[in-house]
């Protein structure tokens, strides 16, 4: 029997023989990640474990991106804990201040994660790196502390759901619409404990950034990982990020899948996840005209340069509605600089946007864009749980950058085609 992508990568990192889903295997890890919310707990556990040094100072990344720039004294104290630990353990990849980016945009850009790697992160959206063909998954802080100390962790081999995306997409259709459609189809627990493996002509044609957008939201279907085959495009991206030695990788033709889900994007309209779960997905036509008070373009899902280009193309020469706060957060300093060079920042400013630093802030209701009671936001982020972006009486709708930009202009949820 052949192997799925998940099985292949696990096999490459363990001395045991990967036989079947459900089996528990111990694997070495390529990179261990935590942020300013989860690292302080991991450090507490690391010390309680009696660990002295991290397993490899080059394979631990600590990225202070959630409450930064520090929003209050408590968050500043948390970052201080992380900073001091990083200095004490001589950790190479510590990021804050002007160097920090949203972790899942930053690590791929720096070439720190890539094909066939196993990456564990104390952040549920660590699955983003599946877009590069990495078995990457979120865990809690204590698991991450164990990973930092031992350089290994355990996994239950997941069964895999194969997702085939075919068809001809419309002008404003993209990665975010495909993943929202999938989550709407299989539900927020549709891939619970499982791996998602993406294939099909639409996937082959997608950029690496688009693939990361899709992999990012695997967790919103309950998935452990969202994996893409490693093709020439992946290798080109990794090479540009400074990596060497990566090779192409695909699932075996006779791999065993639990289920195959087919998605046809021909004729599909932009997709919107309505409150209060990411699987409450409807085509934009069914929710258009809903008044919004805030539009957020950014996050580890859609804060990359391609996303900013998409939003700027819609916003160019237009103004955001005066009743809408349009917030644009380029996900890393490099993306910020690139957006500046391309004139995108100017486009955003002229449209009336607040252009902020790279931060996770508003996505999790942390800071820089909290909603009041009765307010409604459209966001390119990944979660619309009740109260996620602020008040329990607020609402979040999830969309692509193009739809968020179009909605900011009109003040109501809008299909960019209709502008």
């Amino acid at each position: 029997m052949g192997k799925t992508l998940a099985e292949k990568i696990l096999q490459a990192h363990t001395e045991e023989t990967v036989k079947e889903p459900g089996q528990i295997v111990r694997c070495n890890v390529s990179m261990v990640l935590a942020n300013d919310i989860t690292a302080p707990l991991a450090i507490k556990s690391f010390k309680a474990m009696g660990a002295d040094q991290v397993f490899d100072k080059d394979k631990v990344a600590l990225v202070c991106d959630h409450f930064t720039p520090n929003k209050d004294i408590d968050s500043a104290e948390q970052v201080k804990v992380v900073r001091e630990f990083a200095h004490e353990k001589n950790i190479t990849h510590y990021y804050e201040g002007g160097e920090v980016g949203v972790e899942h945009a930053l690590l791929p850009e720096l070439g720190l994660v890539g094909p066939a790697d196993i990456v564990i992160g104390a952040d549920s959206h660590t699955c983003t790196y599946g877009g590069l063909g990495a078995f990457a998954t979120g865990m809690g802080s204590t698991d991450i502390a164990g990973g930092m100390a031992l350089g290994e962790t355990w996994f239950k081999v997941p069964p895999t759901i194969k997702v085939e995306i075919e068809g001809t997409p419309g002008k404003y259709m993209g990665a975010k619409d495909y993943i929202l459609n999938l989550i709407g189809t299989i539900g927020v627990s549709g891939a619970l404990y499982k791996a998602l493996e993406f294939s099909g002509s639409v996937v082959d044609n997608l950029s690496i950034e688009g693939r990361m957008t899709i992999a990012n939201m695997a967790i919103e279907a309950g998935g452990k990982v969202g994996l893409f085959p490693v093709d020439a495009k992946t290798l080109e991206y990794c090479k540009a990020a400074g990596r060497t030695g990566d090779v192409e990788m695909r699932a075996d033709a006779d791999a065993n899948y639990e289920r195959v889900v087919k998605i046809n994007v021909t004729g599909m309209k932009p997709q919107i996840a309505c409150p209060h779960l990411p699987d409450n997905v409807k085509p934009v036509d069914e929710v258009k005209d809903m008044q919004i008070h805030q539009a957020v373009i950014g996050s580890c899902t859609n804060g990359r340069i391609e996303d900013l280009r998409e939003a700027a193309a819609v916003l160019k020469g237009r103004k955001a509605d005066k009743n809408v706060r349009l917030i644009v957060l380029p996900a890393t300093p490099n993306i910020w600089k690139q957006a500046l060079r391309e004139g995108l920042i100017e486009t955003f400013m002229e449209s009336g946007a607040i252009v902020g630093p790279a931060t996770c802030g508003p996505c999790l209701g942390g800071h820089m864009g909290i909603l009041a009671g009765g307010e409604r936001a459209i966001a390119t982020t990944n979660r619309n749980f009740k109260g996620r972006m602020g008040s329990l009486e607020s609402e979040v709708f999830l969309s692509s950058p193009a739809v968020a930009a179009a909605s900011a202009i009109t003040g109501i949820i809008t299909d960019p085609e209709a502008l």
């Binding site: 528990i24 919310i37 989860t38 302080p40 707990l41 507490k44 556990s45 309680a48 474990m49 009696g50 660990a51 959630h66 409450f67 209050d72 408590d74 968050s75 948390q78 992160g121 104390a122 952040d123 549920s124 660590t126 979120g138 865990m139 809690g140 802080s141 204590t142 698991d143 502390a145 164990g146 100390a149 031992l150 355990w154 239950k156 927020v188 627990s189 619970l192 404990y193 967790i219 309950g222 452990k224 779960l277 999790l364 209701g365 942390g366 979660r383 749980f385 009740k386 109260g387 996620r388 329990l392």
Partner: protein, 164 residues
């Protein structure tokens, strides 16, 4: 070990933002996190809970963030056990690591009503509903994870490994 307490029933897909919203994540203190437990579901929810009460949930409990603050806040609130139709993957792992007992009972969660008096025997995997007189059983813990629990949680497990 037997735990006796009142069941607090919640619905499906209770996410980690409901268990402990992001604004409270500026601390790792179990008491502070416990005082704000379930604040994202309903303001003041914690007021109804007594020590050793038991959370009963529908499917996918703990979906969302990897924040370990979620199981810590439940423990801090005095809730030692969650019984659910199913758990989200990261939360399930975190629960074990933190010493929060998680019992997966499938559709049998329906037999545990809000306010029912329960007796949980985690070793045997049995939940007795004292109010209705019915006993339900839960899925056994996989041997590898039982090994971690037997060590006293992941911290002790890694401590043992490092000492060898």
């Amino acid at each position: 070990m037997s735990i006796k307490g009142t069941a607090h029933r919640v619905g499906a897909h209770i996410d980690t933002d409901a268990i402990i919203p992001a604004r409270f994540l500026v601390t790792t203190d179990p008491d502070e996190l416990g005082a704000n437990c379930m604040e994202g579901l309903e303001e003041g929810w914690i007021k109804r809970v007594k020590k050793n009460d038991i959370m009963v949930a529908d499917e996918n409990f703990g979906c969302g963030s990897s924040r370990e603050h979620a199981p810590i806040s439940l423990l801090g609130a005095g809730i030692p056990v969650v019984v659910a139709k199913s758990f989200a993957r990261i939360f399930y792992r975190n629960g074990f690591n933190m010493g929060l007992i998680l019992l997966e009972v499938g559709d049998d969660f329906e037999k545990l009503g809000d306010g029912d008096q329960l007796e949980v025997d985690a070793e045997k995997g049995e939940i007795k509903n004292v109010t209705t007189g019915e006993t339900i059983t839960c899925a056994p813990v996989p041997p590898f994870m039982k090994g971690i629990l037997d060590c006293g949680g992941l911290v002790e497990y890694v401590k043992d490994r490092l000492a060898k």
